[in-house]
């Protein structure tokens, strides 16, 4: 092995997204675009739509440096596909000082700094891109994974070029979808705002900032506190899907109009996330509203709502409609 290859830098990237946003595909595109050994893997969890997921890419000309099959704990680059994750997950965990945090957001930098400041990251640079609106404009869908790679291209031009990235996209997607993505990516670098931290040192590609045993969540229960039968009693479970803001990444949300509701209950049965709120009145369960915290805006309830005729105008109105968030 030549000395150049042996000392080749090791690029580590972590993507944070929600199930369905394409964080895994983003990681795969990254590894395909890189000219040399690269591996990528997702966090292996329940990949339910809307639940927080992460994916990792390891890239280096020196294969031995990326031969490991462990996850990435000390990335130089982190891309966040959904800014609501900043509240739920420590997106800056283990980040190498001088690294870049790329966020899809329309929030101002001051607010972002305040949110991530709670986790006390080392000195890192931040790049902001409003990828959601670009995705809606170019792709017609809120899928931002390829666009965030365009932003990564701006902050880390040494990993791969635009041409390499577009080649990877062309290989991965059907031609029509690939072209839309490629068109969108080209406008991303100019739309990306980069905020450099003056105190950040030069970025190191060798140093590891993983805290020892950080992959084992030390505050969870241990073997000696384990239930005799391994049962997860509902009164003990901290979290579950109840506290996960699965509705955060939807671009629209269902809205309830009680005046047009005939209480057929179709919406409650069709909703995949139990977001139709019901209350018991005189022995009957009645629809009373929508749980906006968990509603992802799939629109199924609107589809099945039979609606009701307005007495005065005779016009038919549905009791559920979709409302755009912003």
């Amino acid at each position: 092995m030549s000395e150049i290859v042996k000392d080749a830098p090791r690029f580590l990237v972590r993507f944070h997204g929600r199930g369905g946003q394409g964080a895994v595909t983003a990681a795969q595109l990254c590894s395909m675009a890189f000219d040399g050994p690269a591996t990528c893997m997702p966090t292996f969890g329940a990949e339910r739509m809307g639940s927080p997921v992460a994916s990792f890419v390891k890239m280096s000309q020196n294969y031995e440096k990326v031969r490991t099959n462990e996850q990435v704990y000390s990335p130089q680059y982190v891309a966040v596909l959904d800014d609501s994750l900043l509240f739920d997950v420590d997106c800056t965990a283990g980040m190498v000082p001088g690294g870049f945090l790329v966020i899809n957001t329309c929030r101002p930098i001051e607010e972002i700094k305040e949110i991530i400041g709670k986790n006390n990251p080392l000195a890192i640079h931040i790049a902001l891109i409003d990828a959601t609106n670009l995705a809606l404009e170019y792709l017609g869908r809120n899928i931002t994974n390829t666009l965030i790679l365009g932003a990564l291209l701006k902050v880390a031009p040494e990993i791969f070029t635009l041409a390499q990235l577009t080649d990877a996209i062309a290989e991965q997607f059907s031609p029509k979808i690939a072209q839309k993505n490629i068109d969108a990516i080209k406008v991303v670098p100019d739309a990306t705002q980069v905020f450099m931290d003056e105190n950040a040192p030069e970025l190191s590609y060798d140093k590891d900032f993983k805290t020892a045993w950080s992959h084992i969540k030390i505050d969870n229960i241990g073997a000696k506190e384990w239930d005799l039968a391994g049962v997860w009693h509902v009164d003990q479970i901290d979290g579950g899907s109840r506290r996960v803001n699965t509705g955060a990444w939807g671009i629209s949300v269902a809205q309830y109009h009680p005046e047009y509701c005939i209480q057929c209950g179709n919406c409650a049965f069709i909703c995949p996330d139990f977001c139709i709120l019901r209350e018991e009145k005189d022995g009957k369960w009645e629809v009373v509203g929508v749980d906006e915290f968990h509603c992802k805006g799939c629109g199924n309830c609107v589809e099945v709502c039979p609606g009701k005729k307005d007495k005065e105008t005779g016009e038919k109105h549905k009791a559920l409609t979709m409302r755009m968030k912003c």
Partner: protein, 408 residues
Amino acid sequence: MSVQPMNPFFKKIKEPVELTMTGNYAVAGGVTQTDPDVICAFPITPQTQSVEGLSDVVNHGRLKAAFVNVESEIAALAYSTATCAAGARTFIATASQGLLLMAECLPMPVGWRVPLTMMISARAFNSPNISIWNSWEFTLLSGFGWNCIVSENVQETYDASIIASRISEDTLFPTHFVHDGFIISHSAQKFMAIPDEDVLKYTPKKPRHHIQTQRPGTWGSLITPDYFMEGRLALELEKNTVLDKIETAFRDFEKMTGRAYHSIETYNLDNPSKTVCITMGSMVGNILTWMEDNKEIGLIKLRTWRPFPAEQLRKIIEDHNIEKIFILEKDDDLSGHLPPVAASISTSLVGLPIILRSFIVGLGGRDVTKDEIQYATMKMRDVNDNRGKLYDYLGVRESKGKMWEVNF
């Protein structure tokens, strides 16, 4: 579907080509190239995409094979054993609970000497809770006479899907090839695909015994104590020749692709501490990357898990004057005995002056990081005899806020 994972295998591969795929799809590609006649499996996480990928290539018309849907794993293995006995090259895949449900059928393809090939995406058995993530469940069900080779990464599992087919045909024993569920099955990595022509040359369909109407007979009939032991010894005698045939298959594979594989592979054995770590599967990569900056220990990688290459291991340990061995394994036994991998290794080394310990790590998909490797290396410095318990769990919480201390 916007993403078409099996796309590269829809057309003939004429030149060695670099592809990026997940482990399961890469296996589907490799199996496609070996031209199976029958594919019969029941889906189970994390094995599913391998069979799904094969259904794609069959549907596309690229592969002329019978894709058979069945109602359970036991039906899948019963069906596959029968088609294989009828002379078809057959591929099957499963994991964890699926393997358990197959258990009743596992000994028969061995007894009938049918060259069945099975992929296992290693996953934990359910107890006390369901886990869909990686453990080495196959080590607890590998005593029936199946050959078993274990892969470290996507390249190796792709290659194994081809080599396993060859090993099955050469040895006439069914072969498992295993990769770590999720860690490899769902990781996208770059690998070199072999041209179709070379694969077919490497895995020819040779004439062999099979069910035939011209010469009727009963397969698997009742047999009295007058004969049963002879049948078992006949299997054992043939089994003794398997390791050499596996090595030959590896050698021929190296001639074809340049990728050198062995039943046992070694790294940095002549280290100052005379300590060596033995493990297999995806963890080997983790240790080798860690060893880039840490030369204190050596590493032995087991590629062939069954038949266990005991003599070869013993020779390596003797030739390099290894004093201490520690094993990292993703399985436990709860029998009060050493866990499966350590049990196989220690019985291979009976009588040698070896200090041996086993660390149980990474169960149910827990990541094995440099922390575990470093801790095990450090712990072995102070171990100087074989007294007390020889195994313990590593990288696990004792209680809230407190890690379990390995106690040797």
